[in-house]
Symmetry: C2
Amino acid sequence: MSRIWNFSAGPAALPLPVLERAQRELLDWNSSGASVMEQSHRGKRFIAMTEQIEADLRELMGIPSDYAVLFLQGGATQHFAQIPMNLAGEGESADYIITGHWSEKAASEAAPYVRVNVAATSKADNYLRMPSHDTWHLDPKAAYVHIATNETIHGVEFEDVPRVGDVPLVADMSSNILSWPVDVSRYGLIYAGAQKNIGPSGLVLMIVRRDLLERQARPMAKIFRYAEHAANSSMLNTPNTWGWYLAGLTFQWLKENGGLQAMAERNRLKAALLYTAIDGSGGFYSNPVDPAVRSRMNVPFTLHDSALDSLFLQESEAAGLMALKGHKALGGMRASLYNAVPVEAVQTLVVFMHDFAARHG
Amino acid sequence: MSRIWNFSAGPAALPLPVLERAQRELLDWNSSGASVMEQSHRGKRFIAMTEQIEADLRELMGIPSDYAVLFLQGGATQHFAQIPMNLAGEGESADYIITGHWSEKAASEAAPYVRVNVAATSKADNYLRMPSHDTWHLDPKAAYVHIATNETIHGVEFEDVPRVGDVPLVADMSSNILSWPVDVSRYGLIYAGAQKNIGPSGLVLMIVRRDLLERQARPMAKIFRYAEHAANSSMLNTPNTWGWYLAGLTFQWLKENGGLQAMAERNRLKAALLYTAIDGSGGFYSNPVDPAVRSRMNVPFTLHDSALDSLFLQESEAAGLMALKGHKALGGMRASLYNAVPVEAVQTLVVFMHDFAARHG
């Protein structure tokens, strides 16, 4: 079979040139006579690679020098817990902005380690809009404010960085990191599971202002301390070497393709194509999210008649369009339009959708 | 460059047929039109794969049905901490048998979560032998007894399963799992980082008796609870899908090559070849470990004159023998002889060593 268009929410499509290069050098990486997976992480070749990867990422995102860059494990979910373990002292509280499934989960996994203050939530609106900023009850003494910049399931995204004063802003950017430029200096800590815009699953990228690493943390094993990971260049223990390598190939691909500004333009175009098709379908398809905060990365939509869902999935798969089934929490469909999904894929999808609606409308 | 012989302690050599197959299907796995890295872990194809992998491992190791099999993240080091979090109640103690660097580290990472009782240690012997069983001070009320079945740095290995009565035996098998048959029913919990005998780094295999999952654990985030991972078939959050897939290919390769009995015979032969070369070198090479507990997997050795070390490394690399440099804690050399290292690699090494000694003896 040939390659299909992959709209998976994650693990998601990877850039084809990245996969092709990984395939070419799978048995013999960097003229070493062995796979990159077979290299000691403490070897000269591997360390030189990780240094280049960090330099590339710093250039792409404009990461200031007072931020550490870490490559960790455990998925964003583990760091829902590990962030309060590291950033909050005993008895302290943290503000959580709840805008969908993932920020809600972040708060619930944090609860054993910090007093969670739900400073704002759009749950009563079914997460179809962002909580209006004038409803946010921020605590100036909070250890940090936590947001998810994009909600993978509910399809809402922060356009701007929320103003939170001097309290460090902690952002789960799993599903929109590297999709547009961000001002890193506005954040205390940015983290992201790799399996959407970075690389394969099993890797977590963290960008953290170094002063936050100095916070007096509770007693815990070294392996849970971000300061230890930073002091050991993310090699406190054996890292996910394959994931790290593929992240590096993805960063190179981003640099060769115009960087984050070019990605931002392409991602806006892709999202506009799909939302226009949905909104212009005369109600055959619909997306109920407030247009001002619709996600450019994850587009949930429903068919006017859910009895057509299985036919839509069957025919779309036959047309080479993969992984359009929506998350079980919302039903319907979802198309994820990460960096590695080309404009051509979205064009093919909207043509299919138009045709499907014409035949079944 | 062509493939070399790789003696890395980890991330280590992978079986060549496994790498070749991964390379072949990197762009199109299982006729899906996408890479295995691009598949949703909740997709039918991926779930069918994980079920086959578990079945293959159960067959290979003879895992009884009252044991759960988990594929986790974080490296063995994270589980040094997570095991007491899950298996010990507040105020309980656990017995640790210290036989080298890794079991010592296991105890130190456990200390924030359980009262560590060093029930036996061979530290005073520089870890060159195992602590004699009659010196073990086991506590019948301990939450568990922890051992490392093989010490990657110090090159000592338990030949037999220690007798610990009714207290569950917890074993870090990172560096000798799948290298010979083991009686799983003698253990309460077996765990192993993947990057030696299983697959790439970033994956941890855990085999745990189900009743231990029911222990009353302290308050903690769900993501740290083994019971949650077991209840969710290791998909509580997005797993390391690539690592899981490669582990599966390795298990298939083991089955096609005679299983663990055949590996045991091959590994004994490889170790015998190398130890014989060392012991027969007239003192040019030496390994100081008690012959009764010498590791079949990791063979540290020194040259009689450490001034020759760098020349040995340079010439061995030129001869296509990679990663022979010893761990910095011991200096000298180390050859790791995991399953994926063929007999031919060890033959090439011992011929090189003999030749080097003849030229520099």
